[in-house]
Amino acid sequence: MTLSRPLVSWLYVSPLMLVLIPFFVLPILVVLVASVFETDGFGSLIPTFTLANYANVLTSGLTFNLYFETVKFTVLTWFFTLILGFFVAYFLVFHVRNQLLAIGLFLICTVPFWTSNIIRMISWIPLLGKEGLINSALLHLGFIHEPLGFLLYSSFAVVVAYVHQLTIFMVVPIFNSMARIDKRVVEAAFDVGASRFDIMRLIIVPLSKSGIALGSIFVVSIVMGDFFVTKVMSGGGSASVVGAFYEDISVLQYPSAAASAVVLTLVLMATISLILRTVDIRKEITR
């Protein structure tokens, strides 16, 4: 018995739908509805239809500042994870000859992720603090005379924490893309005298495009949707978009938090669509 192709596809995709519908579609509808309600300040939701929440979110200078801060961190994180991730993947794919060794090195990079993110966040203090390992080492070696204060509770610390956490999300997709580059193509390019730079520019980067796009999507989604890394590592010096509606939720201001959440979701969906327009991942597998 052969089933029609669309039916087969729907069967394959049904488990995904089984998760998405109750755990994304329905809750987001609840959020959408809540965003047009009002509240009495005590956590109730008064059913009306008002766009006041959206007006507040979209016209306030605070929103602009929050997005600016968060986007700043996102771009910096993206940039550093891209550079680091790209070259780490490149090293593992092209310069490590023994495949087992490559796997081993890769697995070593994943071990820190078995320790919960929050524990690693806490451990930045003994590393970057004024009495921490780095400052002690630098003082001991005589490079500085006073402990460096900017290492912790600063924007620097926030970016370092994000890059530490997220480079692996760049390495894996780029590694995947690079691994399928036919090495004979690279060899042929060498044979006709192409410089390393040209090979990088004309062969490797274009063929890793989908991996780069994927990694970027992951990094952008995680950083824009995060709040506690910024809260903890900036020492309260910076705020973030999600951090702001965490505080709204703390005082049960559901409608305005809902409106902010919807705005953020739409902004991110637009960003990701843009990335996917440059590199159509879907086209790569559909025929």
């Binding site: 109730s44 801060e69 806490i122 004024k130 903890v232 020492g235 309260g236 705020a239 965490y246 049960l252």
Partner: protein, 451 residues
């Protein structure tokens, strides 16, 4: 089966039983209950033949879920309660924000809600808690009158913010509005409270701090810190500005838009001037900032000051007695609320649980953090006279003082910062709160954060 009200003066077995006060009789609650139930069963009639075994059996299967913040809902306390009472107690810690959201959106998943005064107001409004019968709380009459009557020794406790007294009473068990005045029904049973002020390094500051305005003193530029919780941070800031004479607030716990604007604008100004080294988010951050000398004066919590002292670094919790209507501590109080869905056996067990808190073991435990029990008389029974003298009476410690887990903390002879608890509590000038303009306040606080 009816309520079996047992004499609460049977003291649960306590591994810290001190022989001097003669509390050694390890008469376990369970055996007393069985005996009492047998007597009551005989008195009630034939239908309760086998009642003791049924009661003990039924209560064994009960599980109470107590949810709240980690400084108030402590696993060690829950374990001891379970041991003494015979049923299961599961403590779950969440941060303040997640906890209140859980109570409101998923009330069936919690049995005992740990509520601050303002959270009790919210929970009542949303109808997720049930009124607690004051008569069923054994030690209610022994509660400090600051909770039950809003005064102490005739001195009325200030009500800026939402004081525990204001949040305590409701008219009927299912009322949604708080009642100003004494009634028979409570929203919560207070279980732990304290008076917060500033922590500072006496060695680096050079003099005794008794005024909030020192936090914003340009002398300490770049060496001060405030905490990153909008509702609390803004009150600390308000205390500073009022202390410096910059503004007089109508109610620091419920500011008008103009007052909020003034406070946040001034904070932004101070931040741009570089007054604050950091706005701390986690408890340990506040400890580390002080211990490493990165800040010399900071909004702190009592156990944080203790934690700094454990590192052998001097740190004092400023005594902020009220002067000329200014200064004063910022008080907070956590209490246990009963969720509406509790009925029958579980409700009985919940009352037992709350009464156990007032019987003293818990009171002694939290004292060693520097917190207070609403019923000092029972807590005293579980503390050594030396401990009680140090923590409650503000006298010099006759012997070294340890923290709740036995780690030595204070040397003999040290005096608890701020003096006796009467002195500290009567000098509370405002309480943790939820303002009418909370949404607006959050926005302005975020402006301060992105500045």
């Amino acid at each position: 089966m009816g309520n079996i009200m047992l004499d609460d003066s049977s003291k649960p077995s306590n591994r810290r039983a001190r022989t001097e006060s003669g509390k050694g009789r390890a008469l376990s609650r369970r055996s007393f209950m069985k005996a009492g139930a047998a007597i009551a069963g005989a008195a009630i009639g034939s239908e309760v033949i086998g009642a003791p075994t049924i009661w003990a059996q039924e209560i064994k299967d009960i599980e109470l879920r107590h949810v709240g913040v980690s400084y108030s809902v402590v696993k060690a306390i829950g374990d001891q309660a379970a041991k003494d009472l015979g049923f299961k107690v599961t403590m779950q810690n969440l941060d303040t924000s997640a906890a209140i959201n859980r109570f409101i959106t998923q009330p069936n998943s919690v049995d005992i809600a740990d509520l601050e005064g303002w959270q009790a107001k919210l929970a009542a409004k949303r109808g997720v808690i049930q009124g607690i019968e004051a008569k069923k709380i054994k030690e209610f009459d022994n509660f400090l009158p600051i909770f039950t009557k809003g005064e102490l020794d005739g001195h009325k406790i200030p009500r800026q913010g939402i004081s525990p007294y204001e949040a305590l009473y409701i008219e009927k068990p299912d009322s949604t509005e708080l009642h100003d005045g004494v009634t028979d029904w409570l929203t919560n049973v207070p279980q732990v409270y304290n008076a917060d002020s500033l922590g500072y390094r006496p060695d680096l500051v050079g003099h005794t701090v008794t005024e909030w305005k020192e936090l914003i003193d340009p002398k300490f530029k770049g060496k001060a810190a405030i905490l990153d919780v909008p509702a609390i941070g803004i009150m600390d800031a308000a205390l500073c500005f009022e202390s410096a004479g910059l503004i007089k607030y109508g109610n620091k716990g419920n500011m008008t838009k103009k007052e909020i604007d003034f406070t946040c604008d001034k904070l932004i100004e101070l931040k741009k001037d570089g007054q604050f080294r950091a706005t701390w988010t986690t408890f340990d951050q506040s400890v580390e900032l002080m211990a490493a000398g990165e800040v010399v004066i900071e909004s702190m919590w009592s156990p944080a000051v203790a934690a700094v002292r454990v590192k052998q670094i001097p740190c004092t919790y400023a005594a902020m007695n009220i002067k000329d209507g200014k200064e004063g501590y910022r008080g907070w109080c956590n209490g246990m609320g009963l969720m509406k869905h509790l009925t029958g056996k579980k409700l009985e067990a919940a009352y037992e649980y709350m009464n156990w808190y007032m019987s003293g073991w818990q009171g002694a435990f939290v004292s060693r953090y520097g917190y207070y029990s609403p019923v000092p008389s029972t807590a005293q029974k579980f503390m050594t006279p030396a401990e009680y003298a140090f923590w409650y009476e503000g006298k010099p410690a006759p012997e070294p003082v340890t923290d709740p887990y036995g780690v030595p903390m204070e040397k003999a002879g040290t005096v608890r910062d701020g003096g006796s608890f009467v002195e500290r509590v009567t000098n509370i000038s405002c309480w943790n709160t939820l303002m009418d303009e909370a949404a607006y306040m959050n926005k302005r606080w975020n402006d301060f954060k992105v500045a």
